[in-house]
Symmetry: C2
Subunit: 413 residues, 2 copies
Amino acid sequence: MFKPAGVHTLIRQTHEDRVLRVLREHGALTRGEIADRVGLSRTTLSEITNVLLERGAITVANATGGIRAGRGRPAERLVLDPGAGQFMGVDFGHRRVRIAVSDAAHDIIASGAEFYAADSAWPERIDSCFRLIERVGEESGIHYGALQGIGIGFPGPFSPRMPKPAPVADGSSAVPAGELVFSSFVERFDASVIIDNNTRFAGLAEAIWGSAAGTQDLLYVRLSDGIGGGLVVGGQLVTGASGFAGELGHVSVSPSGVQCRCGKRGCLETIASVPAIFAGCTAKGVPIHSLDDLRAAVAKGDPIVASVLRDAGDALGRVLGSVAVALNPREIVIAGEVAQIADVIFEQAVATITYELLPVPEAAPHVRLAKLGDDDGALGAIAALFHRSPLLASYPETHQPDHQRGSTQRNIS
Amino acid sequence: MFKPAGVHTLIRQTHEDRVLRVLREHGALTRGEIADRVGLSRTTLSEITNVLLERGAITVANATGGIRAGRGRPAERLVLDPGAGQFMGVDFGHRRVRIAVSDAAHDIIASGAEFYAADSAWPERIDSCFRLIERVGEESGIHYGALQGIGIGFPGPFSPRMPKPAPVADGSSAVPAGELVFSSFVERFDASVIIDNNTRFAGLAEAIWGSAAGTQDLLYVRLSDGIGGGLVVGGQLVTGASGFAGELGHVSVSPSGVQCRCGKRGCLETIASVPAIFAGCTAKGVPIHSLDDLRAAVAKGDPIVASVLRDAGDALGRVLGSVAVALNPREIVIAGEVAQIADVIFEQAVATITYELLPVPEAAPHVRLAKLGDDDGALGAIAALFHRSPLLASYPETHQPDHQRGSTQRNIS
């Protein structure tokens, strides 16, 4: 068959794009790992990586950063040129905003946090964040000139697929907070912006860099002031039809239980959230008002506190077990400082999950404690950028500046 | 910028491929609907569809088949050339096998069923199916010469991502039934073969052609001898990490309830499956041994039977409500003849689901009865073929005959 001139060029470019995408999504990989993921022979792949190395688009990763599996000389790992772009993750929590900045090689090159009052208004929080970004830039010498994408974790339901609120005429007070955050960043930065729920992003970070690294199917829960969660199904972060996926705190456990702020009775949040655990201990005669109080009571081996924690772990296990029967995840990750402090929550949750599961060994997920720290939400936001970038196809409401919009369509227009 | 010769040809071919893929996945669409889905202007799209119409790759759909929305002349709808290929869906149930054959335009051109004993062995069932395929071919004049794909619904956990069983030396008795079915079809037919759980396929059929048509996020449950389910999340059929996703029958409802065959107590299946409902009525003094008995008792308005059915609906609603809080689906579909016979199951399930949900109107899914009949599993298997074909990318264990494997890579090698 006649092949018109230029076809080889296009094919090579397609291969190059796939290699670059795999490195963008996964960070440092050996040539063999790249070849497997891209579906090319080792020979073809080597030709392509040689061209990319020569051109400076990729570089050899620092060998000390990797984990040496097996003996012998470790295989050389390749990464995107760190200078090829910067990505920022932002996590707005109830009492602080945290940012992390990554280069294209997945190395965190700067980070920081700024605290605010839990009742502060959104315009204030956004201003805090902008000040934080400036301060971190000055401290680290980053001018954000190569900033390609910003991922924003937001403390509430949010969906890229959620319908936009109707425009309002009388000012910004009626604009939902998520929209306000999104548009503030779009106006300020010449970069792609995506926004999603911050607990969901923290779950994604655990699935990529944390204790469930590499999984395609994760059920993630975080015990905090409330209880939130995140789901990764078939490698996709699940937002749900209207942004509410992962609200595990409001699954019923005890229909005749305590009244929940959502209106039902006996939600998981009324038993296993941090305030519910404090209240449970206090009501049983052991006043607990802080995580430090709890840590002391656990260290002392207080049996009343242990029983409250065990009930919390059991309720948690019932919800996670039920959802795991429905979804058959590979990994379950439990996050939240309270779970780190009180082993019994995790132990009891594992026992109850095991009871709830189908009696089939292949169907059993691993259950683990979360590994990442307070920057998990910001890291997850960066992970989402790496996985969506450059097309950000699953984020239809994403803002993309014009110069990027052009370049991302290079292959089809 | 210099554009090498041949680039325009490649771009046009890419556009054509995308138009054909959209028609393969969705069936008949207007030019406007195609343009929206492919992301091309109406003008560019018209040029492409004109070329495809001239070449005979697509054709104008029969106008009478469509639903006329609004007034005025309905817009012309386009479909793939019906002669471009055939697709077969097979559904192995506990007591029958059913097949449906579709052309490339999504029209069912033949179908049939063959019954076998519930305890018959798998080689017998497979033989029954092959006889059925021959008989249906003779009756309809189809010679399966254009058969491109076969989708097989299997009554048990199955995952395209499940590890293959170890090969056995001493004959076929140790080969799991799913593997036996799969390899029997691969040996017999020169077509792509995919296999998955049949209830999951039935759910997919409801999401594409049934009462939840068009949704990307479905929670599906079927009340039968057991209780199975299926999940569609972000447009993907969910198999789970090891093929067990959707086993809603084994979510616990009543920890102190009746012993279930899985070993736990109080699973949904012990309350809302058909045998559980019969046993519940019989234990309360109203002997029910068949769906006809149940139909008669419902027609009579028996209050004991009504209370058993209401308890079944409540248990069903609790499980669906909990999973819906975790997943935030757009649609919930309840299938199974018993739900069609006894309105009160559905009514009570809707009431309980509504209670369990977050009190946020946007988060509320539609709850519906299933619309498709006994061929839902076979139709879902065909739907899976349309959505995976031609690359069948999410089915890594899929068998693809050599002549197809070559053609699917046309654009990249």
